[in-house]
C-alpha cells in the first residue's frame, strides 16, 4: 500500500462537501468514499470526521436525515444543501487557484525568474 498522505489543514471540510455532493452518505460512507476516490492515498483521522460533519451541518452546508443503511441498519445520512453547493463551488475554485499558484511557484526555474 502506498504511503498515506496526511490531510492539509482545512481541506477536510472541502472533501466532505465533495463526497456528499455525489449522493447522500452516512459518516462511515463519507470516509470510505473519500478514501476510495483518492485511491486510498489520503489519511483521515476517523475521530476528526464527525466534528467536521457536525460543524458543516451547524453551518447549514449539509443536512442530515436518518435512514436505512445497506445492511438494514439505522444510519444518519448527510446530503448537500443549496448553500453547501455554493460553498463547494467557491471552495473548489479557490482551491484550484491556490493549487495552480503554488504549483507555478514550485515549477519556477532560475531562467524563468
Amino acid at each position: 500500500m502506498a504511503k498515506k498522505l496526511d490531510l492539509l489543514q482545512g481541506t477536510l471540510d472541502l472533501l466532505i462537501l465533495k463526497a456528499v455532493s455525489l449522493g447522500p452518505l452516512h459518516g462511515y460512507g463519507v470516509l470510505l468514499r473519500i478514501q476510495q476516490i483518492s485511491g486510498e492515498r489520503l489519511q483521515i483521522q476517523q475521530g476528526s470526521l464527525y466534528p467536521a460533519l457536525y460543524r458543516l451541518e451547524h453551518q447549514g452546508l449539509i443536512a442530515s436525515q436518518w435512514g436505512e443503511s445497506e445492511n438494514k441498519r439505522k444510519a444518519k445520512y448527510y446530503r448537500l444543501t443549496a448553500a453547501g453547493r455554493r460553498a463547494l463551488q467557491a471552495e473548489t475554485e479557490y482551491w484550484d487557484k491556490m493549487a495552480g499558484a503554488i504549483a507555478a511557484v514550485l515549477r519556477a526555474t532560475p531562467e524563468g525568474v
Binding site: H26, G27, Y28, L31, Q45, Q46, G47, S48, Y50, P51, A52, Y54, R55, E57, H58, Q59, G60, W66, S69, N71, R73, K74, A75, K76, A83
Partner: protein, 881 residues
C-alpha cells in the same frame, strides 16, 4: 444562515437528550461498520472490534468536539460545569460558605459605595438637560480665602450679562433666605429663595400644580405670589388641591400661593457650594426689584445660574462672559482691579467637595474587594492542590487544559454569583445604614437607591470577582504532572508552586490591609486631634437660636430696641445665666468678612478679617476668654465712642510684643480697640482662624441675629421659654435653628466623622478577611506538613520547637505583608492629605500603631494552626499518606 445556525443550536440545546442519543448511535454505527469491514478483510472478530475502536480514537473526545461544533457546547458545557461545580461545592460546605460570605462582604460593600457614588455623582440631576446648566460668578480678584461661591454677581452686572450674552438660553438669580412664615397661627421658620423671572425656565422644571412666576410677578407693585414645595404642601396643607389661591404671611406680609413644585425639587438649598441652612427649599418668592436695584453695582445679594444654548460649550460661554465682564467698571473699593466673570458646570457645584471623599471611599472599597478576592483565590489554591489527583484523572481521560480551567472557573462563578446575591442584600442594608447616619455634607445622598445601573455594576463586579478569585487556582490547578500525581508522589512534596503563589497572595492581601488600616488610622488620629482642638469658646450648656426681623423693623433703632429688650428678658428667665446676641454664631453657617485698615499700617486689600457684631455679654455667654482690656458694656451704645475688640492673632500680627488696647482701626469709621479675646474657630473646626474683630451690635445694627443662652435649663425648656418671649413681643417672628453648641460642633465634624467611620469599617473588614486568609494558609500548610512534622517529632523535636517552626513561617508572611504595606502606604497616603487634620500622611504613631495591632492579631491567627501542629501524633501522621 444565521437562522439555521440558531435553529441548530436551539435544537442541540433544547433536545439535548435526543441529540446525544443520536450522536451515540451514529458513532457506534461507524465503529461497528468498520469492525465488520475489518472482519470481512479476514481479521478475527474480537481483534477487529478492538482495532476499530483503537483507530477511531477517544469517543468521549470526539463527542466533546462534536458538541462544540454544534455550538451547543457553550451553554451546555457551562451548565454541566456549573452543575458539577455545585456538586463539588456541596461536598465541601466549609469552603463554599467561607468563600461566599467573604465575597458577599466585598461585593456588598462595593455595591453600597457604588450606589452612593451613583446617586451623588453619576445620576443625572432632576432637571431637563442638566448638562447645559451652569453657575455664574463674578469674583473680585485678589481677595484671599474667600471661596468663589461667595462672589455672586452684583445685580447690575448680572442683568448686563443677561442682556448682552448670546451663549445662554436663559439666566436667573436667586437667594437663600430664612422666612418667618405664618398660616394664621404661630409663626414658623421656612427655608425660602427669592428668584428672578427665568429661574424655573433655566432649571426646566414645571410645577406639579398651578403655575410658576413669570416676569410680570417680579415687577414692583404687582401682587405678591409664591410657589411652595411638595413636602411643604403635604405637611402644611395636607396635600389639599385647593391650596392655589390660599394666602400665607411671609415676614408679616400676605402672599398668594400660585403653584406647587413637584416632589424632589428643592433647589437651591442643599447645594454643596452654597452657604445654606436647611437641605431643601420650601418657598420660592419672585424677586421684586426696582429699576435702581436692578442697576445696582454695590452689593451681590444672590447667586446666578444659566442654561447654555444647545451646542454652546462651557468654554465658549466662559469666553463670552469674560469678554463682557472686562468692559465693566472696576468695583468701587478696588479701582485697580478688573472684574471677572466665571462660568462653572452646575453638577460640580451641587456635589462640590464630596467628590474627593466619595472617590476615596470607592478606592478603599475596591481594595476590600481585591482582598476578598485574593482570600477566596487563596482558599481555592489550597483546595485545588488537594484535588490534584481528581484533576489529573480528568486530564488523563482527555479533558483539555482549557476545559479544566473552564470547569474550575465555573465553580468560582457559582461562588461569586452566590456572593453577589448575598452582597446585594448586604448592600441594601449598608446603604440604609449609611443614609440613616446622614453625613451632613454629602448632597443628594438621600436619593441613594439600588437602581438598574447599580444592579449592572454588581453583576459585573461579581463576574470580575469570579475571574479574579478563580483564575489563579484554576490555572495552577489545571497544570498538573499526570504521571507524578497518579503515581501518588505528588502530594508528598512539601512546597509546590501553588503554595508559593498562595503565600504571595496572602502577603499582598495583608499589605493592602495595612494600607487601608493606615488610611483609617490617619483619619482616626485626625478626628481625635480635631475633637481636642482649642475652639476658642466653651460649648458647655450653651443654646443658640436664630431670629430674623422683617421689613417692619426698618430702622437701626427698631432693630436694636427689639434685640435689647429680647436679651434683657431672656436674661431674666430663671435658670439662665448669660444671654447675648450675635450676627453669626460660630459654626452656625453664616459668615461676614471685612477688609479694614489698622492705624499705622497701610490698607491691605489682600488681608481679610472675620468680623462679628455682638451684644455686651456675648463673650461671657459663649465662654470666649477675654485676654486683655474689657468686654463691651451697655455704654457702647449707638452714638457713643466707636469701639472694637480684636482677636489674639490680630494683636500679635499688628502689635507684636505690644498691647493693642487704645489703638485704632478703620472699619466703618475709626474705632478704638478696647479688648483682646481668644481666637475662635468660627467657620470650620479644622482651619486655623484668621484674624478676627468684634464690634458692638448696638453700633452696627442687624436685622438678623442668633441669640446665645447659657444656663442650667435643658434645651427644650430654653427653647420654649424663648419662643414664648418672642411670641409675646411679635407673633409674626419665628425662632429657628434651635441648637446647642455641642450640636453645632458635632455637625461641623459630621463629614469627617462619617469618612472616618466608613474607612474604619473598611479597614476592619479587610483586617478580618486577611487574617482569615492567613489562618487558612497556615492551617493548610500545617496539614500538608503533617508528615514532615511527624518525622521531626519522631526524631525528638519538642512541641515548642514545632510551634516555633509554624509561628516563624507565619511571622515571615505577616512581617512581609507589613513591610510591603508600609511601602505602599508611604506612597499613597499623601493623596488623602486634604482629609487629614494636624496629622502628617506619614504619621509615625499611626504606622507603628497599625503594625502593632496587626502583629498582635496575626499572631493569634497563626497560633491556632501552630497549636494543632504540636498535637501531631507521629505514628498517625506517618500512616497519613
Amino acid at each position: 444562515m444565521l437562522v439555521k445556525r440558531f435553529r441548530s443550536w436551539l435544537r442541540a440545546t433544547l433536545q439535548r437528550r435526543v441529540v446525544e442519543r443520536e450522536m451515540d448511535d451514529e458513532l457506534r454505527f461507524h465503529v461497528e461498520r468498520y469492525a465488520e469491514d475489518l472482519k470481512r478483510g479476514g481479521m478475527e472478530r474480537g481483534e477487529a472490534e478492538r482495532q476499530a475502536r483503537l483507530e477511531f480514537g477517544s469517543v468521549g473526545q470526539t463527542k466533546e468536539a462534536c458538541r462544540e461544533a454544534r455550538g451547543a457546547d457553550r451553554l451546555d458545557s457551562l451548565l454541566s460545569d456549573i452543575h458539577y461545580g455545585l456538586r463539588r461545592l456541596r461536598s465541601t460546605p466549609g469552603f463554599a460558605g467561607l468563600a461566599v460570605v467573604t465575597l458577599a462582604l466585598g461585593i456588598g460593600a462595593t455595591t453600597a459605595v457604588f450606589s452612593l457614588v451613583n446617586a451623588v455623582l453619576l445620576r443625572d440631576l432632576p432637571y431637563r438637560d442638566s448638562e447645559r446648566l451652569v453657575f455664574l460668578y463674578e469674583p473680585i480678584p485678589g481677595i484671599p480665602d474667600v471661596p468663589l461661591e461667595a462672589f455672586g454677581p452684583v445685580n447690575g452686572d448680572f442683568f448686563t450679562w443677561q442682556k448682552q450674552s448670546r451663549s445662554f438660553e436663559s439666566m436667573a438669580m436667586f437667594t437663600n433666605n430664612g422666612l418667618n412664615a405664618s398660616l394664621g397661627d404661630a409663626a414658623f421658620r421656612a427655608t425660602g429663595s427669592r428668584v428672578t423671572g427665568d429661574f424655573f425656565r433655566v432649571l426646566g422644571v414645571s410645577p406639579a400644580l398651578g403655575r410658576t412666576p413669570d416676569d410680570a410677578d417680579t415687577q414692583p407693585g404687582h401682587e405678591r405670589v409664591v410657589v411652595i414645595s411638595q413636602p411643604f404642601w403635604q405637611s402644611r396643607f395636607a396635600g389639599d388641591r385647593n391650596v392655589l389661591g390660599r394666602e400665607m404671611l411671609l415676614n408679616a406680609r400676605p402672599y398668594r400661593i400660585i403653584g406647587v413644585m413637584p416632589a424632589g425639587f428643592a433647589f437651591p438649598h442643599g447645594t454643596e457650594s452654597l452657604e445654606t441652612t436647611g437641605k431643601t427649599t420650601e418657598i420660592w418668592v419672585p424677586w421684586t426689584m426696582t429699576p435702581e436695584q436692578r442697576a445696582s453695582r454695590d452689593d451681590n445679594p444672590g447667586n446666578a445660574i444659566g442654561r447654555l444654548r444647545p451646542g454652546v460649550s462651557l468654554s465658549q460661554a466662559q469666553v463670552e462672559i469674560a469678554a463682557i465682564s472686562s468692559r465693566f467698571d472696576p468695583p468701587f473699593q478696588q479701582q485697580n482691579r478688573k472684574p471677572q466673570g466665571v462660568v462653572r458646570p452646575f453638577d460640580e457645584e451641587i456635589t462640590g467637595g464630596s467628590r474627593r471623599a466619595l472617590l476615596i471611599f470607592m478606592a478603599a472599597v475596591l481594595l476590600v474587594l481585591v482582598i476578598a478576592c485574593s482570600n477566596v483565590a487563596g482558599l481555592g489554591l489550597a483546595r485545588a492542590s488537594g484535588r490534584a489527583r481528581e484533576i489529573s484523572i480528568r486530564a488523563a481521560l482527555g479533558a483539555s487544559r482549557l476545559r479544566l480551567v473552564r470547569q474550575l472557573l465555573a465553580e468560582s462563578l457559582c461562588v461569586a454569583l452566590a456572593g453577589g446575591v448575598l452582597g446585594m442584600a448586604a448592600a441594601f442594608w449598608i446603604v440604609r445604614l449609611l443614609v440613616d447616619f446622614h453625613p451632613a455634607n454629602i448632597p443628594r445622598i438621600e436619593e441613594t437607591s439600588i437602581d438598574g445601573r447599580v444592579l449592572l455594576f454588581t453583576i459585573c463586579v461579581s463576574l470580575a470577582t469570579a475571574v479574579f478569585s478563580g483564575l489563579f487556582p484554576a490555572w495552577s490547578g489545571s497544570r498538573c504532572n499526570l504521571n507524578e500525581t497518579i503515581k501518588g508522589s505528588g502530594a508528598r512534596s512539601v512546597r509546590s508552586g501553588a503554595s508559593r503563589l498562595h503565600s504571595w497572595l496572602i502577603v499582598a492581601e495583608m499589605a493592602l490591609t495595612i494600607v487601608l488600616l493606615i488610611g483609617s488610622g490617619l483619619l482616626i488620629h485626625s478626628f481625635l486631634r480635631l475633637r481636642s482642638v482649642d475652639k476658642g469658646f466653651a460649648s458647655f450648656r450653651t443654646v443658640t437660636m436664630g431670629l430674623q426681623l422683617d421689613g417692619r423693623y426698618n430702622s437701626p433703632q427698631r432693630q436694636n430696641e427689639f434685640f435689647h429688650t429680647l436679651v434683657a428678658r431672656v436674661r431674666a428667665v430663671p435658670g439662665v445665666q448669660e444671654a447675648a446676641a450675635v450676627d453669626h454664631v460660630p459654626l452656625g453657617g453664616g459668615e461676614s468678612i471685612s477688609l479694614i485698615e489698622v492705624e499705622g499700617n497701610p490698607f491691605d486689600e489682600k488681608t481679610s478679617f472675620e468680623s462679628r457684631s455682638v451684644t455686651p455679654r456675648y463673650f461671657a455667654a459663649m465662654g470666649i476668654p477675654l485676654l486683655a482690656g474689657r468686654a463691651f458694656d451697655d455704654g457702647d451704645a449707638a452714638g457713643r465712642t466707636p469701639v472694637i475688640i480684636v482677636s489674639r492673632s490680630f494683636e500679635r500680627r499688628y502689635f507684636p510684643g505690644r498691647t493693642a488696647l487704645g489703638k485704632r482701626v478703620h472699619a466703618t469709621g475709626w474705632r478704638t480697640i478696647v479688648g483682646v479675646v481668644a481666637d475662635v474657630r468660627m467657620r470650620e473646626l479644622d482651619t486655623t482662624p484668621p484674624m478676627q474683630f468684634y464690634s458692638p451690635l448696638w453700633q452696627t445694627p442687624t436685622g438678623s441675629a442668633v441669640v446665645v443662652v447659657r444656663g442650667t435649663l435643658p434645651l427644650e425648656r430654653t427653647a420654649s421659654a424663648l419662643r414664648g418671649l418672642v411670641r409675646n413681643m411679635d407673633a409674626a417672628l419665628a425662632v429657628a435653628d434651635v441648637r446647642t453648641m455641642e450640636q453645632l460642633i458635632s455637625e461641623a465634624s459630621a463629614e469627617r466623622r462619617f469618612q472616618t467611620l466608613v474607612l474604619t469599617v473598611f479597614g476592619g473588614i479587610s483586617l478580618f478577611l486577611s487574617l482569615l486568609g492567613l489562618y487558612a494558609l497556615m492551617a493548610y500548610s500545617v496539614q500538608r506538613r503533617t508528615a514532615e512534622i511527624g518525622i521531626r517529632m519522631a526524631l525528638g523535636a519538642q512541641p515548642s520547637a514545632v510551634m516555633g517552626l509554624v509561628l516563624r513561617q507565619g511571622a515571615t508572611l505577616w512581617l512581609g505583608g507589613i513591610a510591603l504595606g508600609f511601602v505602599c502606604a508611604w506612597s499613597v497616603t499623601r493623596w488623602m492629605r486634604s482629609l487629614l487634620f494636624e496629622v502628617q500622611p506619614t504619621d509615625p504613631l499611626t504606622f507603628v500603631g497599625v503594625a502593632a495591632l496587626f502583629c498582635a492579631v496575626a499572631a493569634m491567627a497563626c497560633y491556632v494552626p501552630a497549636r494543632r501542629a504540636t498535637r501531631v501524633d507521629p505514628v498517625i501522621s506517618l500512616r497519613y499518606e
